[in-house]
Symmetry: C2
């Protein structure tokens, strides 16, 4: 484990109470004194800060869409990306079982510690400090998020994700057609060229089957990469 | 509709932007300009303030229990009680359909406007003002909440709820027994003396069946009264 001083330099905040920082990094595999209470507190702060930001940034957007945007910003995979940016893995305090099974790189644990860190910053300093941490480390996510990016159809999203990474566009092909003319079911396979990822989906139109398959592939890619492509 | 001045006296805050206050009271049955965005914002502020309060008030309580306590404090029925205390019904701005169907007294709408009011207070003033509103109007709920009250078994909760209202204790009786001795199922009916409420539940032990039936009766009583008895 690197020294906590390095972590405090990365997040640009010096804790008065180093025990609080340690608690924010301590997984329950280590015992009853762990980060979960701080995570509960930090989660609520993150929810508020993100809600306020979206409310202000999208003055015309209806509540349902704001909620969906927030979900995509605070979901586990997104928080894990932020945690990896900070290099949180190096500072986690895990029990032996989690250490051996690779807990230091598990999305769920990494995501938790972003929230527990927010809670710890709030308690050690104040709301402003916690909010600044969120704004700093979520900045690129906040900058990228848009109505379009959140509510775009899966095929467009997948295409953009591939282009962004300089990869070839996905292939779609019909692999099965079932039923009578007036009630046909199409099964489409979507596969990537540069990654060993593919998925099949069935629907009453070719277009819907493609969208469904693209959505599944996008999910698989996200799980593999831990990348935020929503 | 009473004058908004009266509402502002009740909540002890003068809005600079009266249109914002009106928006916080305007249901979607009235059109696209309604309280839902403010509700989204206010919900997140309420979540944070309640999380912080519970975190501080219960320093030993695990995260799972804190979460359940918060849920019981911010659920629709509880918020509707707060809204009725303020007399929010008198100020709601509803479309014709909702007006006719009694929307001014609907739990879900009343609960929403507590959240939208919190959002409006935040925007018109600041976080402190929104937080003060929450502390003022949730004070008695905050004072009452305890580990015991949240996690007590349903029979005890129902008994206390009855005693608190000076009512007779509930009756439990076995109304059916099914199956062989080693695999019996008991159906118990729980009924109240002073209210026309009863419910039946079945389980493998008399005790569990009683608990289940008590839980259902408690829920029915809560729905009727809009009272917070958790």
């Amino acid at each position: 484990m690197d020294s906590l001083a390095a972590l405090m330099r990365k997040i640009d905040y010096q804790f008065d109470d180093i025990e609080l920082l340690k608690l924010a990094l301590t997984h329950r595999s280590k015992g009853a004194q762990n980060y979960e209470r701080l995570e509960f507190l930090g989660d609520s702060i993150l929810g508020f800060v993100v809600a306020e930001l979206l409310y202000t940034k999208f003055p015309k957007l209806a509540e349902g869409k704001l909620s969906r945007m927030r979900s995509s910003l605070v979901r586990k995979e997104t928080l894990a990306v932020v945690a990896r940016d900070i290099g949180m893995s190096d500072y986690l305090i895990l029990g032996e079982g989690e250490l051996k099974s690779g807990g230091f790189n598990r999305d769920s644990i990494l995501a938790d510690t972003i929230e527990s860190m927010i809670g710890a910053l709030y308690l050690d300093a104040d709301f402003e400090t916690a909010s600044r941490f969120i704004h700093t480390f979520f900045e690129s996510l906040f900058a990228e998020i848009s109505e379009e990016s959140t509510f775009k159809d899966p095929k467009s999203k997948l295409q953009e994700a591939m282009q962004k990474q300089g990869m070839q566009l996905p292939n779609y092909k019909i692999v099965d057609t079932l039923g009578e003319q007036h009630d046909q079911q199409f099964t489409v396979q979507c596969s990537l060229v540069d990654l060993p990822v593919s998925s099949k989906a069935t629907a009453h139109s070719r277009r819907s089957a493609e969208q469904k398959a693209a959505e599944q592939v996008l999910k698989l890619v996200n799980e593999k990469n831990g990348k935020f492509t929503a």
